[in-house]
Amino acid sequence: DAGVTQSPTHLIKTRGQQVTLRCSPKSGHDTVSWYQQALGQGPQFIFQYYEEEERQRGNFPDRFSGHQFPNYSSELNVNALLLGDSALYLCASSLPSAGTEAFFGQGTRLTVV
């Protein structure tokens, strides 16, 4: 049973560019959330997708957008990259109900230069 998979694992982009990160949820999960983890900090919630719609959003600017596909996989897009966007981006999948654990992928390490 494949867990949560993310691609790519590492990425280097130039300031001002755009980036797309991809996530496939754990089998049986239909809710996908994205988190940003800066160095030395805990993950911060970006947004959550269920039934191809954004359902919850954290305190991130509109430069961060996403999409969920009919097969439940998801993309995170970041436009106009800033140096401060350098972080580990984590995807988590879960069932669409409260009180259930989220399972995380290994993350995508984004470096903006």
Binding site: S33, L90, A98, F104, G105
Partner: protein, 114 residues
């Protein structure tokens, strides 16, 4: 405003002894709490969770205690093993229609010495 705080950046414990990791929260609307373990170059791995209607949950060597009046939870690992050395994150969430929006603490680095 940090709603979930792990005030100890690191903890060192001898193999076989108890490890106690602590977490405080400020949002009284949180009703579900989780602990995750993270190794370098891997994503967080779910360890154990507790609902606000309970004050204790146990799973093998791991026990989580919740004190709602103090807004405090702790993770006990007994006995500690060298393979437990990792970063431990406390997370909390409110009841939400579409699943959990997790709020994480900054993590505690646990080192178990053999």
């Amino acid at each position: 405003d940090q709603q979930v705080k792990q005030n100890s950046p690191s903890l060192s414990v001898q193999e076989g002894r108890i490890s106690i990791l602590n977490c405080d929260y400020t949002n009284s609307m949180f009703d579900y709490f989780l602990w995750y373990k993270k190794y370098p170059a891997e994503g967080p791995t779910f360890l154990i969770s507790i609902s606000s209607i309970k004050d204790k949950n146990e799973d093998g060597r791991f026990t989580v205690f919740l004190n709602k009046s103090a807004k405090h939870l702790s993770l006990h690992i007994v006995p500690s093993q060298p393979g437990d050395s990792a970063v431990y994150f406390c997370a909390a969430s409110e009841l939400a229609e579409y699943g959990n929006k997790l709020v994480f603490g900054a993590g505690t680095i646990l080192r178990v010495k053999s």
